[in-house]
């Protein structure tokens, strides 16, 4: 397992975090005084209505953005304090992303898409190929390795996305509405896959979703409303 | 869809949508327009060199004046005529007469070295010895500074072109002729003709300086009328005492320019042609991206009933309009940038320098605009057909 944990096996610790966006002359407070801890090996679902700041929180944890105030610890590092350059290499080593719209490169085949994060490592060509094959096998798409995204179904494209997300064996898998664009059946397959990754391989997963069907698969769910976290849904 | 008016309004609508979307595509539009402007500017610019060169020589002769050289000579440089012969020529039928006698000037022609002002290196400058009638035989000759030289004295006058391009030819300067130094006493203009590249003095003085005895190289004659030329020529060519070649001055000068103008045209047109090919690719790029950007729009219009022809016409219209814009810009750059630019080069046939000005003529501007239009048509054709033959249903689904 990659990375170090804080005390009591805590992987992610968000403390007193505030995020303000400036839109013209307005100030929008998306997150207010937020606290969250995620132990290693947990499958956490982040739920809330649209505009509640779920994706923003995910971005902060993933080092894609910085909080206006507060601290973010991931795998023992102060992520909010790393420079852009350090953040890039930190993300490459520790984070795997899965996006709602898959975000594959249309000009690359499935296996080349999965290989992308590995290009940032010093691995040799042969080693990279091994990792890619393993990742594709884990998501069950070895047969479609040489296909371009435009010839894959939505569910298949998302599985490629997941393969890309795990190919570097990251500390943390961050998923932003992974089933948002899929039909029920494909969505279920994806959720099965994520659950397996968590239960059988011990991957820590934080998943943003608005679908209770998806959050039911997680081991813990927190709710975000108007920038504040709670353990119960707000009606 | 019925009626030509309907069709025109269709074309107008589709074209309008296209032109309205230009701000989004301004990058590729700018690329195409300036690409075409560049082609036109280069074509017109390079050819204006040849045109200017030719114009100097064309302006150098009128149909009622003639030049007589020794038979077989293709330029004054290699010609030779004796005094007796020049007298016979001056007395020939058809020659106009003035108060001082026949309007005929026996002349000789040498080349001297002078430094070119712009580079400091030597240039072959024509030095011509003339007789009094020379000032009437040539049109538009007038002094802009100083005075004519005094006959019998060792003095020279200089053409405006020569004074501008070559060093040491201001009024008051001393010019080295052979082993002597002769003062420059005046500067003359001659209607933009070849004479403006020359230095003139009294033929007798020049003969003495160059030990030419009493021989000349050419006779310039003003005829009674353009029609008198044939009479004049026949009389001279049938005279057993003479062995001469008689030409109208404008024909003679036209011949003199062929070498240079041919070379420039042989090089200029292929260069412009290549640039045009490049510009066509640029125009194709722009028009294809224009069509691609508006695929859903065009498909919608066609689904609503706009005809194929209207779509083709509007895209062609847009392409030609942009090309014409580029052409006008290029023509303007060429005209304001090059027209009248002074330069000098070698006239191969006489081995001497000729000063001239780049001439962006109406004909060249027209050629440039025509080229631009052609590029616009070729650049719009394929994209227009692609737009018109879009499969509507799939185009509507496109994001």
């Amino acid at each position: 397992m990659n990375g170090t944990t804080g005390g009591d096996g805590v992987l992610v610790a968000v403390e007193g975090v505030e995020k303000v966006f400036h839109r013209g002359s307005e100030d929008i407070h998306v997150l207010k005084d937020l606290h969250l801890t995620v132990p290693a090996g947990q499958f956490l679902a982040l739920m809330g209505p649209s505009g509640s700041g779920k994706s923003t929180l995910l971005n902060l944890i993933g080092g894609l953005d910085r909080p206006t105030q507060g601290t973010v610890h991931v795998a023992g590092e102060r992520v909010d304090q790393l420079s852009d350059h350090r953040l890039a290499s930190w993300r490459a080593r520790h984070i795997g992303f899965v996006f709602q719209l898959y975000n594959l490169m249309p000009v690359l085949t499935a296996e080349r898409n999965v290989e992308l994060p590995l290009l940032l490592t010093p691995l040799s060509k042969a080693e990279r190929r091994r990792h890619v094959e393993a990742a594709l096998a884990m998501v069950g798409l070895s047969a479609r390795a040489k296909h371009f995204p435009r010839t894959l179904s939505g569910g298949e494209q998302q599985r490629v996305g997941i393969a890309r997300g795990i190919v570097t064996d990251p500390t943390l898998l961050l998923c932003d509405e992974p089933t948002g664009d899929l039909d029920r059946k494909s969505g279920d397959e994806i959720l099965d896959l994520l659950q397996a990754l968590n239960r059988e391989h011990g991957k820590t997963i934080i998943m943003v979703t608005h679908d209770p069907h998806a959050s039911a698969r997680a081991s813990r769910t927190v709710y975000l409303n108007k920038g504040q976290l709670s353990s119960a849904p707000v009606n | 869809m019925a009626g030509p008016i309907n069709w025109f309004s269709q074309v107008a609508s589709v074209t309008k949508f296209g032109l309205l979307s230009i701000p989004q595509r301004r990058g590729s539009v700018a690329a195409a327009v300036f690409g075409i402007a560049g082609v036109v500017a280069v074509l017109v610019g390079v050819l204006s060199i040849a045109a200017g060169f030719r114009r100097v020589l064309a302006d150098s002769g009128s149909p009622d004046s003639a030049i007589v050289l020794r038979s077989g000579a293709d330029s004054e440089m290699v010609s030779g005529l004796g005094r007796e012969q020049t007298r016979i020529i001056a007395d020939a039928p058809g020659v106009a007469r003035g108060p001082g006698g026949a309007l005929a000037s026996a002349e000789l022609f040498v080349i001297i070295n002078l430094p070119k002002k712009s580079t400091g290196t030597d240039v072959n400058v024509p030095l011509r010895g003339v007789e009094p009638a020379a000032f009437q035989v040539r049109d538009h000759l007038k002094f802009v500074e100083g005075r004519p030289f005094t006959w019998g004295r060792n003095e020279v006058v200089v053409g405006v072109g020569a004074a501008r391009e070559f060093a040491g030819l201001e009024v008051g300067d001393l010019m080295k002729v052979g082993r002597y130094e002769w003062p420059v006493v005046g500067i003359f203009s001659a209607g933009g003709s070849a004479a403006e590249s020359e230095v003139w003095s009294d033929a007798k003085a020049l003969q003495d300086a160059y030990h030419r005895g009493d021989s000349f190289q050419s006779v310039y004659v003003r005829l009674q009328s353009p029609a008198a030329f044939d009479r004049f020529k026949d009389a001279l060519t049938t005279d057993p005492r003479l062995n001469v070649k008689v030409e109208r001055q404008d024909e003679y000068f036209a011949e003199q320019s062929t070498a240079v103008t041919t070379l420039i045209n042989l090089l200029g047109y292929p260069i412009a042609g290549l640039m045009a090919v490049g510009a066509i690719f640029g125009a194709l790029n722009t028009m294809y991206s224009s069509v691609a950007a508006r695929t859903r729009e065009i498909a919608t219009l066609r689904a609503l009933g706009f005809g194929r022809g209207a779509v083709v016409a509007s895209i062609m219209l847009e392409s030609v309009a942009l090309a014409l814009l580029g052409g006008v810009i290029g023509a303007a750059v060429a005209y304001f940038g090059f027209n009248g630019f002074h330069a000098s080069t070698i006239n191969w046939q006489s081995f001497s320098s000729l000063t001239f000005a780049f001439a962006v003529t109406r004909g060249l501007l027209v050629q440039g605009i025509v080229l631009a239009t052609l590029i616009g048509v070729l650049g719009g054709l394929l994209p227009a057909f692609r737009a018109a033959w879009l499969p509507i249903a799939s185009a509507l689904r496109q994001l």
């Binding site: 993300r91 996006f99 060509k125 | 560049g38 290196t121 490049g278």
Partner: protein, 388 residues
């Protein structure tokens, strides 16, 4: 490079647009090659001028002749290794458009002075034995289909035979080649002794006179001093001289023709300006379309520097590919000789200009890519992802 297929894939994204941009670049560099050949044809004489050769001509005017007696006087001057002479014959073969230079020369000293003219010894021997013999350069021989043994008539515009006709007939005894690629093999040379005897007594001061001399100095460093000494020798005589290095003489001639370098540079400037617009526009469009993808790359962990490098690599690959193809085509096109059919003394693309062209294509790649690359580099990841 492992990132190459990502770069290549991006170029292939919009094949038509990439192809048209590439073709524009190819045409631009084809023009570059063509113009370089033209420039070399018009100005190349300067570089091949011998460093140890001086030209001696009449001080006042190029068309005036110098006495033959000057030869012996110059040979006696210190620093002078060899002297030979040439005279402008001004001849026409069939049609005035078939222009090429002809000169009467002294065979031995002439061939010794100009080792760049390669003549087989047997043909040289034949020339020495044939009074009416002439050697002609390969280019002109091929142009008119002349072979050794042919008799060719040339009409001189300046010099006449004693019977008054201007028609001279020469026997082709040899065909010479050029040692370098840019040696001019268009002229024809015949024997001075034949010329001097035969030319008309019409211009009485012409007999025993030559057009200009060429001197080889024994030490190139002394060229300036020798030139001064020659001119001093003939100062105040009836025909004063002007002596200068061959290169300076040719350069002055080129300057008279016009500022060729400026003209070709201006045309190329216009061409490159438009090419910059075309390729630059393509690159910036390409980056704009991919903002989302670039965001994903950054999310995965690509650094700003890596994203910048990737975009620059794209523009450089496009430019170098187009430049290489264009220059290659220019090379092929110019290796077939003079397209003007005889107006230019030489026509080829100097290797030096090929390298300059490749350099320009690299510059093109960098300049067209730098702004889009900077834009890509500065993308904020979270915003970029929203625009996917």
């Amino acid at each position: 490079m492992k990132f190459l297929h990502l770069v290549w894939g991006n170029l292939m994204r919009k094949k038509l647009r990439t192809a048209l941009t590439l073709l524009s670049i190819v045409v631009a560099f084809l023009l570059f090659g063509f113009l370089s050949a033209i420039k070399e044809a018009l100005t190349g004489g300067v570089s091949i001028a011998g460093a140890n050769r001086l030209i001696v001509r009449h001080k006042v005017s190029i068309i005036q002749l110098l006495p033959y007696s000057y030869k012996a006087r110059m040979e006696r001057l210190p620093g002078v290794a060899l002297v030979t002479h040439q005279t402008w014959f001004g001849g026409i073969y069939q049609d005035p458009k078939n222009f090429f230079m002809q000169c009467p020369v002294d065979p031995e000293s002439f061939l010794a002075m100009f080792p760049e003219f390669l003549l087989p010894p047997a043909q040289k021997a034949a020339w020495l034995q044939t009074r009416t013999g002439a050697i002609v350069g390969r280019k002109t021989a091929e142009r008119f289909g002349w072979k050794v043994g042919d008799r060719v008539p040339i009409v001189s515009t300046i010099w006449a035979q004693p019977d008054g006709s201007r028609r001279w007939t020469f026997d082709i005894v040899g065909i010479f080649d050029g040692r370098e690629k840019n040696t001019d093999t268009t002229p024809l040379f015949f024997r001075y002794d034949y010329f001097d005897e035969v030319r008309e007594q019409g211009h009485s001061w012409d007999r025993g006179q030559v057009g200009w001399y060429t001197i080889r100095v024994s030490d190139p460093a002394q060229a300036g001093a020798v030139a001064k000494a020659v001119d001093a020798e003939f100062e105040n005589s009836s025909a004063e001289t002007k002596t200068e290095p061959e290169g300076a003489f040719v350069q002055a001639w080129v300057n008279q023709v016009g500022n060729i370098a400026l003209i070709t540079a201006s045309i190329l400037g216009a061409v490159f300006f438009t090419i910059l617009l075309v390729a630059g526009n393509t690159m910036s469009q390409s980056v704009r379309e991919r903002i989302g993808e670039l965001g994903v790359l950054k999310a995965i962990g690509f650094t700003n520097g890596q994203v910048l490098a990737m975009v620059l690599l794209e523009s450089c690959v496009l430019a170098l590919l187009g430049g290489g193809l264009g220059l290659g085509l220019a090379w092929l096109a110019t290796s077939h000789g003079d397209p003007t059919g005889g107006y230019l003394p030489m026509f080829f693309l100097p290797p030096r200009d090929l390298l300059v062209g490749l350099g320009f294509s690299l510059v093109l790649g960098v300049v067209t890519g730098v702004l889009p690359a900077l834009q890509a580099m500065r993308l904020r990841v979270a915003e970029a992802l929203r625009r996917m």
